[in-house]
């Protein structure tokens, strides 16, 4: 495997915009264009434009596509209508999380699975391996799409100005094919920012035309290009997990507080989806005596918690920070952390984070930190 990072179809454009680039899951991606805090605030108050072409698309099609997905994933894909999307996960036989995914139902028997860049090969391999015996085809479409997201309260207006598609009829977690700025696109009302927004899957050769059209359409209302740095603080404020941080193969969805994505009452393969037995046990454990819980922490001081730092109570380690950053919206450092259940209730006193030897005081809160007003 080559160590040379991959470049998206918008690479030259990012460099023209003066982006600071970073290696992310083998891709050379924009980290920020100017100030990541300004980019963050633009998404919260106006709109931001993201290149997310590193995400991994896998198409699953055929008469038994839905059965394959019910077998391979933990969600009930049989309940996803055409034109709708579902947040779900793919697990190992022991219940450990391989990745979190969005599955779009593009047609009666056609689905698009979107995996994290760093896990796309693992997900592709797992789906392919699990497809045996199903009348369905798993296709690697990673190179077939560029992905551009426009996120923020102004995003519906911006997108409306460059498409005739019925955006008002497009609900959250829905997707429809349409034409945007003259190019064919799958228009999805999804995102990873906690704001209203859209993700546009297009052919790579159309990416630049779409990016430029959205830039022009959004300029009057303050749209700015946004990098992965603000994407991380936006999702953290919104309490959304990031694979490799809140989600790992060592955790089941129940351990991550996301047991709701596991459906034991599926339309098919309810009793033999991959991980079902381990997940039943995990569900019981989570109900009876959860060892640790995913919580939010808000700093009383100004030092920033980082992934891997210990959560401490009275000198004892009671948990671990999984993600941390200065929150532009709250104006304080925040973190997500797995904390022993005894100290996980919001308002628990005496909780700190060991920041390079000093126990900085933190307030335990319920997630998310930020919820948009609808």
């Amino acid at each position: 495997m080559s160590n040379t990072p991959r470049h998206t179809a918008l690479d030259a454009l990012h460099r023209d915009l003066g982006a600071t680039m970073t290696d992310f899951a083998g891709w050379d991606m924009p980290l920020r264009y100017a100030s990541e805090r300004d980019e963050h605030n633009a998404v919260r108050t106006r709109a931001g434009l993201f290149d997310l072409s590193h995400m991994g698309e896998i198409t699953v099609s055929g008469p038994a596509a839905v059965d394959l997905l019910n077998h391979a994933l933990v969600g009930n894909i049989g309940s996803v209508g055409v034109g709708r999307a579902r947040y779900t996960m793919i697990c190992q036989a022991d219940g450990g999380i391989l990745d979190d995914l969005i599955v779009y139902r593009l047609g009666e028997t056609e689905y698009m699975v979107v995996a994290n860049a760093g896990n796309a090969q693992v997900v592709l391999d797992a789906l392919t391996a699990r497809a045996g015996g199903f009348d369905a085809v798993v296709r690697d479409d990673r190179d077939a799409y560029a992905l551009i997201a426009v996120q923020g309260p102004e995003s519906p207006g911006i997108l409306k100005s460059v498409t005739d598609a019925d955006l008002d009829g497009l609900k959250y977690y829905a997707g429809l094919p349409g034409t945007v700025a003259g190019v064919p696109a799958l228009i999805a009302r999804t995102g990873y920012t906690g704001e209203d927004g859209f993700e546009l899957f297009v052919a790579p050769e159309h990416a630049e035309q779409l990016w430029r059209a959205l830039t022009d359409a959004g300029a009057p209302v303050g749209l700015v290009p946004c990098g992965l740095s603000c994407r991380d603080t936006l999702r953290l404020e919104a309490g959304m997990p990031l694979y490799g941080h809140e989600l790992t193969t060592a955790l089941t969805p129940f351990d991550a507080g996301l047991g709701r994505v596991v459906k034991f009452d599926k339309t098919s393969h309810a009793d033999d989806f991959v991980g079902v037995e381990a997940l039943r046990a995990a569900a019981e454990r989570a109900e009876a005596a959860p060892p640790r819980k995913l919580v939010g922490l808000i700093a009383e001081g100004r030092r920033v918690p980082r992934a891997g730092m210990s959560v401490v109570v009275g000198g004892e380690v009671v948990g671990e920070v999984t993600s941390g950053a200065p929150s532009p919206t709250l104006g304080k450092p925040i973190a997500m952390a797995y904390v022993d259940a005894a100290h996980a209730a919001p308002g628990t006193a005496g909780v700190g984070v060991d920041i390079r030897g000093t126990h900085e005081p933190y307030e335990v809160v319920a997630l998310p930190f930020y919820k948009r007003q609808k």
């Binding site: 600071t20 980290l31 100030s35 990541e36 740095s229 100004r302 030092r303 920033v304 200065p326 390079r356």
Partner: protein
Amino acid sequence: MSNPQQLRYSKEHEWLSATEDGVATVGITEFAANALGDVVFAQLPAVGDTVAAGETCGELESTKSVSDLYSPVAGEVVEANQDVVDDPSLVNSAPFEGGWLFKVRVAEEPGDLLSADEYTAFAGS
């Protein structure tokens, strides 16, 4: 970006002004500020602290990371920039001016600092 000619530079990306009445000013370079991203918290040495050349004397937190602050010179801290403590973004917006970090009464002139041209070549900027 250009690195002011009248300053001297460390390989840890600090700058040091010329000494006036025995006191020199320390900051980080624009190259360093850009690499850090938005600085959100600056922990500066306190007035009266003794700093040693090449040793840590504080830290700068940005969105993505925390970085140690190294003193490019030995001496006693006579002033920390309260404006930066109150508004750390000054480090990004004016690293060579309003974003200076602390002033030090120089105990010993450092010998191994870089000129602006040498630093520019070193930082590849």
